[in-house]
């Protein structure tokens, strides 16, 4: 008896070694190589985007292309601001539009989707299953499907050519609601019950107990909506030049041949650096949210 027990303890202590035993060295090396090759494939265009943004024109057309510029210049950014300076709308105006759309859309989405996610996650009431089923089904088709009716609805409400034409549909995005609801489900019911016994109202429970607990999910909703709104060009929903977002202006500039390679890289650099930085800062909490993303 004692012998088998000792064995058990030993095997438990050896657990770490055992896990390693399930890994052959050959497998480790080949899988590592696989990661390296595909990692390079994934990173190469991004690294080139960053490096091209700081290259001078003659260095841009060198072959083989240098991974890192020898002479770092800000010429491309200067060219960019000159190109933009020639247009009759000041560049700051485009930036302001993008920031307005991105900020209000993101904040609105986090707040409004969370308000809806909380009852869906924690209460049973008539209509709950219907709404959640519709949300899950809406994940199964792309937003392009509803683009035409959306245009008609938005123009009938009278929101065409206002930032709201972009912001309101984005707030209703269903992926964020889905992830938030799944994440809220893991909040223990006892926490909500005890707050109720203490006399807190539903709204107070939501704002003071639930919302602080789901901060990781906020960050996820922020990055999902951010990437959608940050790069929006207004499409056919905004046509006034002074209301167009920055992505529209940048795209006009990027529409050139390879001679504009430096300017395009400068533009892409500006557009990618913001969401990527945000992701670097909040990565662990975003990943945490997705552990509850599962579907049945």
């Amino acid at each position: 008896m004692t012998l088998t027990f000792q064995k058990k303890i030993k095997s438990a202590l050896n657990f770490k070694k055992r896990r390693k035993l399930n890994r052959s060295k050959f497998g480790d090396i080949s899988l590592f190589l696989l990661l390296l090759i595909f990692g390079t494939f994934s990173a190469y265009p991004l690294i080139m985007t960053v490096s091209n943004a700081f290259k001078s024109l003659d260095e841009l057309f060198l072959f083989p292309p240098r991974l890192f510029p020898r002479n770092i210049t800000f010429d491309n950014f200067r060219d960019l601001s000159e190109l933009i300076g020639n247009s009759w709308i000041p560049f700051s105006r485009y930036f302001f539009n993008t920031i307005l759309i991105t900020l209000s859309g993101t904040i609105g989405h986090v707040l409004i989707a969370s308000m809806c996610a909380y009852p869906l996650a924690k209460y049973k009431f008539p209509g709950r299953n219907l709404i959640f089923t519709l949300v899950v089904y809406s994940l199964m088709f792309a937003p392009q499907v509803t683009a035409t009716p959306n245009y008609i609805i938005i123009s009938r409400i009278g929101l065409i050519d206002t930032p709201l034409a972009i912001i309101l549909p984005a707030i209703a995005s269903s992926l964020g609601l889905y992830l938030m609801k799944q994440f809220m489900q893991q909040i223990p019911d006892e926490l909500i019950e005890s707050a109720k016994i203490d006399g807190a109202s539903e709204y107070r429970i939501f704002f003071q107990i639930v919302m602080p607990l789901v901060k990781p999910a906020w960050l996820t909703l922020v990055i999902l909506l951010f990437q959608r709104l940050w790069t929006t060009d207004g499409g056919s929903f905004i046509f006034s030049e002074e209301l167009k977002p920055v992505s529209y202006a940048l795209r006009q500039i990027a529409q050139g041949s390879i001679e504009r390679a430096g300017t395009i890289a400068a533009v892409s650099f500006i557009m990618m650096i913001v969401p990527v930085t945000f992701f670097i800062l909040s990565q662990s909490r975003i990943v945490e949210t997705f552990s509850h993303s599962g579907m049945k």
Binding site: R23, P45, F63, F141, A142, M271, I280, V287, S293
Partner: protein, 312 residues
């Protein structure tokens, strides 16, 4: 089931009263949900039905819609040669990028999961960054550029593989492959994160138990322990990849142009954009949208029912 059994004994009126009492009891829930639900119905649920309705009409926004029956559908399926090309391209793109991106997302998540935390975070960033980098995929315009300055052409010429530059973005033999490569590069998005998270939350004691029960290598561990315990994430990832792979448009429009040479990069969504936003034939565009909706739902529900059965 129980509720159904007891129902016959309760009259219709009291049932309605009971329902009303339930609704009143959850007043707060409805108030909290109202803003989202209103927006969701306005911009997602109602448009699906509107799209179906408009697809039976001829409508250009200026004049009121005129009922034309199934005309749009018969024209689309029988007379529109470009739609046939778009449908073919969409299916090729979806059949390649859908499963491949799903597999890549899983395999990379699984490999990354073995790494020490700091390296793991770094590799996650490397693979996820393309999908959040906005316009950075335009870099591929330079890589695939048709002149000798394009990185790929320059590389192949220097290596002596080709003599003259290849017009990657204009030659119909290559266009669809360019779109596939760039789309795959962009495809490690939400489902990739879901897989990483799913792998991290697999109960570690299961591996211990598995090792005692005779799991010998990483492949057995993957098949018998890891995959079954992250099935919900796998289902979620499937939905994300299927929907994205059937909606490819932006990459095609930006890289090979809109319209592309001989429509070789034309997809259902670019066809929809053509009729919806450029020609303002909204009835016809809605017929395209409705078909696309049915294809997406069909593919998703089919794959979901298959995946649910796996391992049962």
């Amino acid at each position: 089931m129980q509720a159904q059994l007891t129902q016959p004994t309760i009259s219709k009126k009291t049932r309605r009263e009971l329902l009303w009492r339930e609704v009143k009891k959850h007043k707060h829930s409805y108030i909290l949900m109202a803003p989202y639900v209103i927006l969701f119905f306005t911009f997602t649920v109602i448009p699906v039905f509107m799209s179906l309705g408009i697809s039976f009409t001829s409508f250009d926004l200026l004049q009121p819609p005129r009922y034309v029956g199934l005309d749009n559908y018969t024209k689309l399926l029988l007379d529109d040669d470009v739609f046939v090309i778009a449908l073919k391209n969409t299916l090729i793109l979806a059949v390649v990028t859908g499963p491949v991106s799903y597999l890549l997302a899983f395999v990379f998540a699984w490999l990354i999961n073995e790494l020490p935390p700091k390296l793991r975070a770094f590799m996650t960033l490397i693979f996820y960054a393309p999908s959040i980098s906005g316009n950075a995929f335009l870099m591929w315009l330079i890589i695939f550029s048709g002149d000798i300055h394009g990185y790929l052409n320059a590389f192949l010429i220097n290596a002596g593989i080709i003599d003259n530059p290849i017009l990657w973005l204009k030659d119909t033999n290559y266009m669809i492959w360019v779109i596939i490569i760039v789309q795959l590069w962009l495809s490690l998005g939400v489902s990739f994160l879901a897989f990483i998270a799913g792998l991290q939350s697999v109960d570690k004691t299961l591996f211990e138990a598995g090792a005692i029960d005779g799991v010998k290598n990483r492949w057995q561990e993957l098949w018998y322990i890891t995959l079954p315990s992250m099935k919900p994430q796998l289902l979620f990832g499937a939905v994300m990849q299927i929907t994205t792979s059937l909606a490819i448009a932006e990459v095609s429009m930006q890289l090979v142009g809109f319209p592309s040479v001989q429509y070789a990069g034309h997809t259902i969504v670019t066809h929809l954009i053509d009729f919806g936003s450029t020609r303002f034939e909204l009835g016809y565009a809605s017929a395209i949208a409705t078909l696309l909706f049915l294809i997406m739902m069909g593919a998703n529900l089919l794959v979901r029912s298959i995946l649910r059965k796996v391992g049962e």
